[in-house]
């Protein structure tokens, strides 16, 4: 082996080993996470979890989300698009995973909005105004009260409701379910109990389409 070729050859070899290690590791991780999800299937959906879409739909997307997470915001219209493209076949269940500072406050606010049947409208406003209240260095979720003015939500009632212990327990429950299911990033997706391991919109679409094919 001459000197000129040694580096490219060894370099390529190292890269190949690296790529194989990535593949093997991801494969193993997928199996592991799928098994965890299967074992803890009862933790995926709680009876109180906000749900949208046809009740009889055979494909269920469970999304662990954080209202302050930009990627969750970006994925929200995408998920709605997938649902609109498959009318009646998909339902969406949201779970709270408030990882950012101040996010649990917003999760509680959303729960309070749900008592007024305004969950989805409120979520829309919260995502639209995310840049105004959810700076990661200085989150100001209290700003939402003025941002939500005119949304039709009874703000003073929501303020009272969100301090209830039931709501606090639900948010805690979601957090602990996420931990059990090994979801530590948002958004965390499950489609009919199968975890989305390699994150991406293309991969999510694939997983959903697969489940639609299997069930319809």
């Amino acid at each position: 082996m001459n000197k000129q070729m040694q580096v490219p050859i060894i370099g390529a070899l190292i890269l190949i080993v690296f790529a194989i290690a990535v593949l093997v590791y991801n494969e193993k991780k997928t199996d592991e996470l799928t098994e965890t999800a299967n074992k803890n299937a009862s933790l995926l959906i709680r009876d109180y979890s906000p749900t949208t879409g046809d009740a009889g739909a055979k494909v269920t997307i469970v999304e662990f989300f954080d209202p302050a997470c930009e990627t969750c915001k970006a994925f929200h219209p995408f998920v709605k698009q997938i649902m609109a493209a498959n009318p009646g076949r998909i339902k969406l269940v949201l779970r709270y995973l408030p990882l950012h500072k101040g996010s649990d406050y917003v999760a509680k606010l959303l729960e309070a909005a749900r008592l007024q049947n305004k969950f989805w409208e409120t979520l829309e406003v919260i995502y639209q105004t995310q840049s105004e209240w959810a700076s990661h260095h200085n989150p100001q979720p209290e700003k939402l009260w003025s941002l939500l003015r005119g949304s039709g939500l009874d703000l003073s009632k929501a303020r009272e409701d969100m301090i209830s212990s039931t709501i606090a327990k639900r948010v805690q429950q979601d957090l602990s379910d996420a931990r059990q299911l090994q979801v530590n990033k948002t958004p965390g997706f499950f489609v009919n109990g199968k975890p989305l391991v390699r994150f991406g919109s293309e991969q999510l679409l694939q997983l959903v389409n697969e489940e639609i094919r299997n069930n319809y």
Binding site: K3, Q6, V7, I10, G11, I14, F18, A21, V22, Y25
Partner: protein, 160 residues
């Protein structure tokens, strides 16, 4: 220094070139290995890990540049990086094994430097791998420097 004397001083030193090449392989494996831990396995690098990365990653580039053509002065640039990196690795090892308490800094949500995330075969930890690679790189760089010194004094200085 004309073309001919450059060739004479470094050109045919295959064994010396191999030493730098071995250093480069180590640095590359260490770099990709650390990226595997953080990007593939999702282990968050702690602050001390970052300092060790900062001094390891440039070695991949510097050593490679020093190999084409073989430049004996590559030691001048690579050795300081490796020595500082080793110091961080050694400090990290002490924190890891509990000789130095980590509690001197306030807690935050970042990864803890004292927490043991990974043990291969039950005893090889990340700081230990870091110490081993830095040490091996330093040893080989010093061997390379000694070789070139033997070939003739003052040759690792540029003659005007």
């Amino acid at each position: 220094m004309n073309e001919a004397s450059v060739k004479q001083s470094t050109g045919n030193d295959q064994a010396g070139w191999n030493l730098i090449f071995a250093c480069w392989i180590l640095a590359t494996v260490a770099t990709l290995g650390s990226l595997f831990f953080s990007e593939v396995m999702g282990l968050k690098p702690c602050v001390l890990c970052w300092w060790q990365r900062i001094f390891m990653y440039p070695l991949v580039v510097i050593l490679l540049v020093g190999m084409y053509p073989l430049d004996r002065r590559v030691v001048r640039y690579a050795l300081p990086l490796a020595v500082i990196g080793l110091a961080f690795a050694f400090y990290h090892y002490l924190v890891y094994s509990g000789y130095i308490p980590e509690s001197l800094q306030p807690c935050d949500q970042e990864a803890s430097c004292a927490e043991i995330d990974l043990e291969l075969f039950g005893f090889i930890t990340i700081p230990m791998m870091s110490i081993i690679s830095y040490t091996a790189i330093i040893v080989m760089l010093v061997m390379f420097r000694n070789r070139t010194k033997q070939n003739g004094p003052n040759q690792d200085r540029i003659k005007e």
